[in-house]
């Protein structure tokens, strides 16, 4: 009775190992898809960019001088589908954590975008008004939504903001 059991256990090992590596590959693909496009403004603005993510699938790219860019992740852009309209914020507006700074509309559903930090809107990406498809093609680059001046840099350390690894882990739990 014991021998057949051992035989049954042995083939499990390679399967489990394969599953593990597939999971790793999945993680790195997801991480890559949700990383900043290195050739667009949110990344290139300074030599040192810090990227954080929210539970609502926004990203925040902050720079040493207190300037930050906000947009939505690849995961969010895919879930929304083809954007037909993007609402961007008013330049000069003061916004607080959790305020809506715009929305993305696709198939008649408008999803609100929230700012992860307090700040003042320095610039809105007007390109999105004429070309909403940028949100789908390059959400972490040319499809940025707002550029703002962060008023309280301590908020960048908020435990509710994820780094890329934590965001990928969160995506796995959430779906």
């Amino acid at each position: 009775m014991i021998a057949p059991l051992r035989i049954a256990v042995l083939p499990m090992r390679p399967v489990a190992a394969a599953l593990g590596s597939r999971m790793l590959r999945f993680n790195s693909t997801v991480a890559q898809a949700n990383s900043l496009n290195p050739s667009a403004a949110p990344f290139k603005f300074s030599d040192s960019v810090t990227v954080r993510y929210t539970r609502e699938h926004e990203w925040l790219a902050s720079h040493p001088d207190g300037t930050a860019f906000v947009g939505i992740t690849k995961y969010a852009a895919d879930a929304l589908g083809d954007a037909t309209f993007v609402e961007v914020p008013e330049v000069g507006d003061s916004v607080q954590v959790g305020d809506s700074i715009g929305s993305v509309e696709s198939v008649k559903s408008a999803s609100e975008i929230y700012t992860p930090v307090d700040g003042e809107i320095l610039e809105a990406n007007d390109e999105l008004t004429s070309n909403p498809a940028l949100i789908n093609s390059d959400p972490l680059g040319e499809g940025w939504i707002a550029k703002l001046k962060v008023t309280d840099s301590d908020q960048l350390l908020d435990a509710e903001l994820f780094d890329i690894d934590a965001y990928v882990k969160f995506l796995q739990e959430e779906s």
Binding site: L80, E87, E105, S109, A110, E160, E173, S175
Partner: protein, 274 residues
Amino acid sequence: MSCSKFPPKFPLKLHHYIFRGTRPYLEGNLIQEFFVNRQLEQKKINNSLKTSQKDKIDFTQLSHIDPVALSFQFEPTYTGGKREKFAQRSSKYRDLQTEGIQFCQTSRGGQITYHGPGQLVVYPIINLLDFQKLTSKCYVSMLERSVILAIGNSHLKGETTENTGVWCNGQKISSIGVNIRRSITSHGLSINNTTDLSYVNDEQLVMCGLPGTRQTSISTELQKLNMSEVVPSIDHLAADIVGQLAENLEIDSIITHIIESPITSEEECLSLLN
């Protein structure tokens, strides 16, 4: 992406509130905001619990609010979506305004639409994250599917096109416009039952950003089939649609609340929960 199955992650009941009579659009909006805020507040509590528990989340500590579906008939009102503000609209709207027709700007997707007596409006307020793989895109197509099944019960064949909504014999019978705040849905769908279509089939008024599109209603379509006697009551149609919604969302239990009295304050909204 498959949009056919999105079972709830835990057992949920669907509360269907039928608001009887014809109500001001703003009353509907007040009620809708009340239910959205309940969901948002619970979500905030759950998120801070999740953050404080870091790696080991005790899911039993998280509470969930049951989804609701609000069904209404509104007084004649034109509403604008995010993409279309009324400011620069045709003078026709100004004429209508002087006739006492209401205009409201909303946060839903889509453009201008009309609500009025004889038209059923259903606003489902749900947390998309309470269901597996329910994206906003799947949610909208689920609403379309529910409408098609419900009007099928009234012997009509509904169809989808590249434009959102449901069509019957080439004319629009149901419009859809949704807003999503932190994965909580609001607004929803309208379906013409016995709507006075002169409010929507006017060449000077472009509905939903689709010039030349004509709307129809269940009663108009049944008349063509000489079946006027089977036009459903609004309550019946509401129960049908919400039944289909529940089925699509794999929710077994629907609790129906019939509300006769007007709801004009937050306090009266709270009384809906009893």
